[in-house]
């Protein structure tokens, strides 16, 4: 078998997982994409181990270790996601912005200012302004009940 086949499949799977990690909002979907990336690495390890005919079979041993570490990672990750969901009623990674730098337009939107300046600031600051950025001031300044209400109406 050509080595290019498993290598190309691993590359495509890795990039699929990369897209998923970057594009998904739900934290559990992000974890699924991370699993895809880890599996791509495992496929590479197995293919190169079989190709090199390593007497120590380091590739296969490392694959087993990677599988075990991925299991540990998914356990810890799900525990963290569950705790975040219990505390904030959301598993949306776009809303966890507590440690983000306060952007200028965000402080302008929170402060007593006219809506015209806010709209111009948001248009000029972020070219890929989306719906999640649009409700940032609400989710930052609201209590958990209001955030839960937003999630309920978002999922309805």
């Amino acid at each position: 078998m050509h080595l290019a086949y498993p290598a190309v499949l691993a590359v495509l799977l890795f990039c699929t997982g990369l897209y998923g990690v970057l594009a998904r909002r739900n934290a559990i979907l992000v974890l699924m994409s991370v699993e895809l990336m880890l599996n791509a690495v495992n496929l590479n390890l197995v293919a190169f181990d079989v190709w090199l005919r390593d007497t120590l079979h380091a590739g296969q041993a490392l694959t087993l270790f990677t599988i075990a570490i991925a299991a540990a990672e998914i356990g810890i990750g799900l525990a963290i996601v569950l705790m975040v969901h219990r505390n904030r009623d959301t598993s949306d990674v776009d809303r966890l912005r507590d440690t983000a730098e306060p952007r200028p337009r965000l402080s302008a939107a929170l402060g007593p200012t006219d809506p015209g300046a806010d709209a111009s600031g948001s248009g000029a600051d972020d070219p890929e302004a989306d719906d999640s950025d649009a409700d940032d001031p609400d989710s930052d300044s609201s209590d958990p009940g209001r955030a839960a209400g937003e999630k309920a109406e978002a999922t309805a």
Partner: protein, 214 residues
């Protein structure tokens, strides 16, 4: 054929390696299963139904197990089936249920930076494909001979050469599980004061949410 001779034959130029136009049966099977795996992975990262994403992930991981079997790594294939398909996906499904994920289509499954993510993934795929195809176009895996990943071989190398990492890994797994239990315990020591009122308040919108969910 000794391993050294196989390695030198594998690194020989394309004159000795078989071409891509006459694939062997193993290669055809690998390509078909690889197409299924890749399609399932793409559906996993693009579908808007969260539970369907987990179930398509089962297809992708099972397809990868078949690829391991085709690469004669039998033990890793069965470990993949046991751990990934058996436990990791079940854990993910439990997580989806416990975070009250909507069953139907959820419009907010994808973030707003989807074009940027698509661009980054496409650029990474292009660069990596270029490098990988350029580097390994002519290398050939010799799948003949005894299976290199049978349970006997894996057990021998794991418990003869890799014992210390194996035991360290067991300690890490134990620590991770204890950490997961500590993290997901409902009433810790720190949040016992006045949290019940917040809990009740948080329960409020969710009681009405399932009626509005599709």
């Amino acid at each position: 054929m000794t391993p050294l001779a196989t390695a030198t034959a594998a690194t020989a130029p394309a004159a000795t390696a078989p071409g891509f136009l006459s694939p062997t049966g193993v290669e055809i099977a690998f390509l078909l299963v690889g197409a299924v795996t890749l399609g399932a992975a793409v559906i996993t990262v693009t579908t808007r139904q969260l539970v369907h994403a987990a179930l398509w992930l089962v297809v992708a991981l099972g397809g990868l197990a078949v690829e391991y079997l085709l690469l004669t790594a039998e033990f890793i294939a069965w470990v993949q089936v046991l751990i990934y398909v058996g436990s990791v996906v079940v854990l993910l499904l439990f997580g989806l249920m416990l975070t009250r994920a909507p069953i139907g289509r959820s419009p907010d499954a994808d973030s707003g930076n989807r074009p940027v993510a698509l661009a980054v993934a496409a650029a990474a795929a292009a660069a990596l494909l270029w490098v990988v195809v350029d580097a390994f176009r002519t290398t050939w895996i010799d799948l003949g001979g005894p299976a290199q990943g049978s349970t006997r071989v894996s057990g021998e190398i794991l418990f003869r050469h890799w014992v210390l990492p194996f035991e360290a890994l067991s300690v890490l797994l134990l620590a991770a599980l204890v950490g997961a239990i500590v993290l997901s315990r409902r009433n810790g020591d720190g949040d016992g004061d006045g949290d019940d009122a917040k809990d009740l308040k948080r329960q409020g919108p969710h009681r009405t949410a399932p009626g509005k969910d599709r």
